[in-house]
């Protein structure tokens, strides 16, 4: 060894020189000691063999081209590997030089424990930062997704809220309308109640008035009738035929007047709801027989044919007396408005559309009722004149009373008519032998 070589042997750094083919030519003892090899074993081996496999790969792909291209390379980090497998980090400076027409690559190498620690720490920090960055990016992406989702949910909720608000408004409007409506209804109800109260009061006043008046009228009428009877019986002196005729006319007028007053009183009683019904099972044949006893004389006097086509066996659920009153009223009217030679027919009919009820029809061959007056005949005090010259018989309350009584028993009374051919009144009443389907 030359003097410089001896000096190099003392250096705290590794020194080696390699040929252009990469084979070791020289190495200082510092390196030999560190690697645990003799100079003889290291000289001639490729510099690569001093490195770890990764170090060799890096040397071949990066370091060698660099040295070859620019003639030098500084501070290259390489992992050195000893024969025993120990690895340690080193920093290399390379310089390609020509000596004695031979080209050498001189290498100065220092072990970098401390520096390697820094580098490891630095690299670790860098990797951690990169990992953290990746994690952050990932989390940011997740957060962005979540934010988008939340945004979507928020939008959805906003939409729903708007919808709900709209519905609430709608409901409020509907509620207000209902309130208005119910107020209106309430007002109307109040008004109706008031009107009814007034009407009821008026009706009651009318009924009381009528009852009172009837009573007040009947007392003098009874006096008129009674004293006329006494006069006609000759209690107060002899009666001439002229006088007898006059008494007779007074009594007839008195009775007519009394009939009128009784009708008025009846109607007043019905309208004020003071009528009691005694509902019982009644055989229609019995009712007809009773009626015929009363009307047959009038029918034959009037020269009218009475035809009974009703079912005698019909069983009815009615107030017997009221039914007789209604039918008598209807038959009396029929007789009244049917001319000589005409006919009155009594029929009964099952109702298809009203189970449990039966229809009793009384048809005449009278002059009939104009269609526009057909319903009016059931109004109180309305009467259709038989003819212009005929006397006005009755009060005009009969049909009103009859309809009220029919309805009071759960039935009804209506009329159909054809001018010039006749009228038909239909009384509907409950039947007792109802067989519901």
């Amino acid at each position: 060894m030359t003097t410089p070589d001896v000096l190099l042997d003392c250096a705290p750094a590794f020194y080696l020189s390699i040929g252009d083919d990469g084979r070791v030519v020289q190495a200082n003892t510092t390196l030999l000691h560190r690697l645990g090899v003799t100079r003889e074993t290291i000289v001639g081996t490729h510099v690569e063999t001093l490195l770890s496999r990764a170090g060799r790969l890096f040397y071949q792909t990066h370091v060698f081209p660099l040295i070859r291209m620019q003639g030098h390379a500084e501070e290259i980090f390489l992992l050195v590997e000893t024969k025993s497998g120990e690895q340690f980090g080193t920093l290399w400076n390379f310089a390609r030089r020509t000596r004695n027409e031979e080209t050498y690559i001189d290498c100065v190498v220092i072990e970098v424990h401390e520096r390697r620690k820094y580098e490891d720490a630095l690299l670790q920090a860098k990797r951690q930062a990169e990992a953290a960055n990746k994690l952050l990016e990932k989390q940011a992406a997740i957060l962005a997704d979540q934010a988008m989702e939340l945004e979507a949910q928020h939008q959805q909720l906003t939409d729903q809220a708007a919808e709900l608000e709209e519905r609430a408004d709608e409901l409020q409007r509907a509620n207000a309308a209902l309130r208005d409506h119910s107020e209106l209804v309430e007002q109307e109800r109040h008004a109706a109640q008031e009107a009814r109260r007034i009407a009821d009061a008026a009706n009651l006043a009318k009924s009381e008035f009528l009852a009172t008046m009837s009573h007040e009228l009947r007392t003098p009428l009874n006096a008129i009738g009674g004293y006329t009877d006494l006069l006609a019986a000759g209690i107060y002196g002899p009666v001439t035929p002229e006088m007898s005729h006059a008494y007779d006319r007074i009594v007839r007028a008195q009775r007519h007047l009394l009939g009128l007053i009784n009708d008025v009183l009846n109607l007043a009683r019905i309208e004020s709801g003071r009528v009691d019904y005694t509902i019982a099972t009644v055989r229609f044949g019995d009712v007809i027989r009773e009626l015929r006893e009363m009307i047959d004389p009038q029918v034959s006097t009037a020269g009218i044919e009475f035809r009974d086509e009703a079912d005698d066996a019909l069983m009815l659920r009615v107030d017997h007396e009221k039914l007789v009153q209604i039918l008598l009223n209807l038959l009396s009217n029929a007789i009244k408005f049917t001319a000589h030679g005409g006919m009155i027919t009594l029929r009964s009919a099952t109702l298809i559309d009203r189970h449990g009820f039966v229809a009793i029809d009384i048809a005449d061959t009278g002059r009939g009722i104009p269609a526009e007056k057909l319903e009016a005949v059931f109004e109180p005090f309305v009467q259709v004149r038989a003819n212009a010259s005929a006397p006005n018989l009755g009060t005009g309350l009969g049909l009103a009373i009859s309809r009220n009584l029919a309805r009071g028993m759960g039935g009804d009374l209506s009329a159909t008519s054809e001018l010039g051919k006749g009228s038909a009144f239909r009384l509907i009443v409950p039947r007792a032998d109802d067989v519901r389907p």
Binding site: R56, L57, P65, L78
Partner: protein
Amino acid sequence: MNVIERNNVRVSGTGPQTMLFAHGFGCDQNMWRYVAPAFADRYRVVLFDYVGSGQSEKAHYDRDRYASLEGYAQDVLDVVHALDLRNVTFVGHSVSSMIGVLAANREPERFERLILIGPSPRYINDDGYVGGFERADIDGLFEMMDKNFIGWANFLAPAIMKNADRPDLSEELTASFCSTDPIIARNFAEATFYADNRGDLGNVSIPSLILQCSDDMVAPFAVGDYLHSHLPGSTLRVMSANGHCPHMSHPDETIALIEEYLGATDA
């Protein structure tokens, strides 16, 4: 986009045929400086840098495109199309060998033959296949790269060096050989060392020359043998040169073997 500028394409020489030199991982077209000029008297010589390497325009670097060797093969085809090259003799070092295989398989009509220096279709050992490396070795390389790219070594070139309009910096430009961006280098390294192109070999329809170095730990003999037996129409020449970069360490032998092959295959 101008491919000529993007890939820093340099054309020299004249001739009816073109030799397209593709650099390997870890450097740039400068690595051909001892070999390429030898062919400029008879061939049109085309040099280029892959996007992300050397003096290429790194603004065009696309991480996804260059995540696999297909992206680099597209660079080769882009250069071929930009210059409308035909009858191309493709000369690839190391990983560029497989990039050339991929390019030639995609457009075989453009290529005459492949010259592959230190090729390997797969670096990592596999079941019954010797690539020379375990995955841990590759991870160790990545760590070594990280350490050296951290800031002290010569691998990082200042950004100002890219200023082509500053000719006064030309000396420093030449001094920034093999400088690279750490992230791009890492991606290129992953694309290179995780690649498995064994399946592409059988599709090669043009003749090829395999230059196998002695004592090359990156591409050991077993890999050269594997390639020779799986690459149809291939010629295997074992060089006396050792190491992985014979075109730099032993340019004369490299030139001689290439010329011999060109002479034998030129009709």
